[in-house]
């Protein structure tokens, strides 16, 4: 379109001289923005603009109710926002979720403890490894075997989990940039994520829904060349993240859309139960990995980035810095990781090795009991919480002593963040809904379960 316009203009200018209508417009624009004979300090509209301002006052100003989503690309296909707008300003909003509700809890109540891993993969489908770890730890807490998990398994969980956290933040950051029109940045970021997905595929065999953790450890050991490959990939990802940042961070449009937009106070964030990067962007340094170090997180030297302001830019900066911190954790873990078993040595909890299942009657019966009845968890209840991509991911499990949970509640960080969306967008411009919604990183699978 642009090329055609230039060509036509040049041709018409060459033939008949400049088009008179266009010249008039250009002159009136010049007068509007630089009125001739303007005195210093004088700020007067040109006559044509004054006439327009008069006309604008007579335009109808009724408020309109409009519908955004659920099938709107910026709403990620799973959230509907009904907005009452006055011109461009949002006066009120109603945020409606539930379009991706799949009855996670109901399914869990009818599945064995081991069968739930594929379900938790599909909660936060951007970082399934972290959900795997969170759920496994909840069952282990209920079984009372937290201290008996082999150390190598804990290190593998940390490495895989932090890879997933980087993927989660990358997806959130670069998808947000794409929604603001920065498509090049999106491709750089997705390329970086692809590097880590390849690593996760090496570990688990699947790119996204890994189901790699087991109660008592992880399914199998790392591949032989994992550590050198991981070092190489981290260097590549660092470079790509730097490239992405250099594309946007000095961009006027990016800064205007992010800075001061969607600001949230620390008090409100805490009251809404918001955790994770969105809370840390308001200046509260709550991170489960530091507050109550689980697994082997107390073996690593890392920082919890916080930012002031609680706006879109603060969320972006916190996520960018957290990715660097996560990669530093992975690097330390790769140096410290001890050799040894990757799953607990307890036939009541761990599945027998395939070699035994196929070659001995005891192994086959143990396998059959595990798959058909599930592992027995003593009656009781536990609430276990870990730091997932979006904040505190909790599992509240009630057991009645059978192989299936009586109740398996997931405390979804996205749900509580999305609850604050109404407050964030009321008073903002209609176009600001897109970056704000991108910045809180609502993940439908987790929010709606």
């Amino acid at each position: 379109m642009v090329a055609t316009f230039k060509k036509d203009a040049a041709v018409s200018g060459h033939k008949d001289g400049p088009v008179s209508g266009a010249r008039e417009v250009a002159q009136s624009l010049a007068e509007t923005f630089e009125p001739s004979g303007r005195q210093a300090g004088e700020n007067r509209l040109s006559p044509s603009m004054e006439a327009f301002a008069e006309q604008a006052k007579r335009l109808p100003t009724d408020e309109v109710i409009i519908n955004m989503g659920p099938s709107h690309p910026a709403m990620h296909g799973t959230v509907r926002v009904v907005l009452r707008i006055d011109g461009e300003t949002i006066k009120d909003a109603d945020v409606q979720i539930g379009y991706l509700h799949r009855g996670f809890e109901k399914e869990c109540e009818n599945a064995t403890y081991g069968q739930i891993f594929p379900y938790v993969d599909r909660l936060n489908y951007v970082s399934p490894m972290l959900n795997n770890v969170g759920y496994a730890m909840a069952v282990e807490k209920l079984l009372g075997i937290t201290e008996r998990i082999p150390e190598r398994a804990e290190y593998i969980r940390v490495i895989a989990g932090e890879l997933a956290r980087v993927c989660d933040h990358l997806t959130c950051v670069v998808a947000g940039l794409a929604e603001l029109g920065g498509f090049t940045a999106f491709f750089y970021g997705v390329r970086a994520r692809e590097h880590f997905w390849e690593l996760l595929e090496d570990i688990s065999g699947a790119r996204m829904t890994h189901s790699y953790c087991r109660i008592g450890g992880v399914a199998w050991d790392l591949t032989e060349d994992f550590i050198p490959k991981c070092r190489e990939k981290i260097a590549k990802v660092r470079k790509l993240i730097d490239d992405t940042r250099s594309l946007v961070e000095r961009n006027r449009i990016f800064l205007d859309r992010m800075e001061g937009v969607g600001a949230l106070s620390a008090e409100d964030a805490v009251s809404y139960g918001i955790t994770g990067p969105v809370l840390r962007a308001t200046g509260v340094d709550y991170d489960v990995r530091k507050d109550k170090p689980y697994s082997v997180y107390d073996h690593f030297d890392f920082a919890i980035p916080i930012a002031d302001g609680g706006d879109n830019l603060a969320r972006y900066l916190v996520r960018i810095e957290e990715m660097e911190q996560s990669m530093q954790i992975i690097e330390q873990a790769m140096v410290q990781i001890p050799p040894g078993a990757v799953i607990i040595d307890d036939p009541a909890i761990a599945l027998p090795a395939k070699r035994e299942v196929y070659n001995s009657i005891e192994g086959m019966i143990a396998h059959f009991k595990h798959i058909m009845d599930g592992l027995r968890v003593p009656p009781g209840e536990a609430y276990s919480f870990t730091e997932a991509g979006n904040g505190e991911l909790g599992f509240y499990i009630v057991s009645d002593g059978t192989g299936r949970p009586f109740k398996c509640r997931c405390r979804p960080p996205s749900f509580y963040t999305t609850a604050a969306l109404r407050q964030l967008i009321v008073g903002a411009n209609l176009a600001d809904v897109v970056p704000i919604f991108g910045g809180i990183n609502m993940i439908g699978g987790e929010c709606d379960r």
Binding site: I65, D94, S271, G273, G380, Y396, R409, F415, T418
Partner: protein
Amino acid sequence: MAESVLTALHERFGDAILETGTYVGDEIAVVARERLVDVLTFLRDDPDMAFAMLTDLTVVDYLHQVPRFEVVYQLYSLTKKHRVRLKVHVDEAPEQCWVPTATGLWHAANWAEREAWDLYGVRFEGHPDMRRILMYDEFVGHPLRKDYPQNARQPLLRRPDAPTTDDQTTRLLEDSHDRRTSG
């Protein structure tokens, strides 16, 4: 540290704390429904408690037990770094199946209570916006109750006697508009 929470609750509320205990490191207190809001307010505002965050709220359905439901609150203190779990027993009879709302104390209670109502049918008295949240408004029943069959199917049909999501939303937005313009 957290045992001091249970001790403080016993000292201050006496008979209203029906039961306390610890399981796998979690501190648990069962509270009488009549004093629930007082207990929650104390836990949030007392400087030694400082439970600024309502982490989670859910319901457990113990079918065939009396009382049938248990509403569960998970609280966390960012400054004291301690946690406590409060429980309230609720009977299944429709007129008894309610607890007072905590929306006045934490913003988080708003959606969490809507979800508990939606999936378990426990009412939260005084909640400003008691609509379904995950299921659609035309849905009949409460799917996470133990007597709701797992394989039940409910096609989305518009019923003449039930308001639809669109009606409710439009009314809600217009109500708040009226309040704003009249006030």
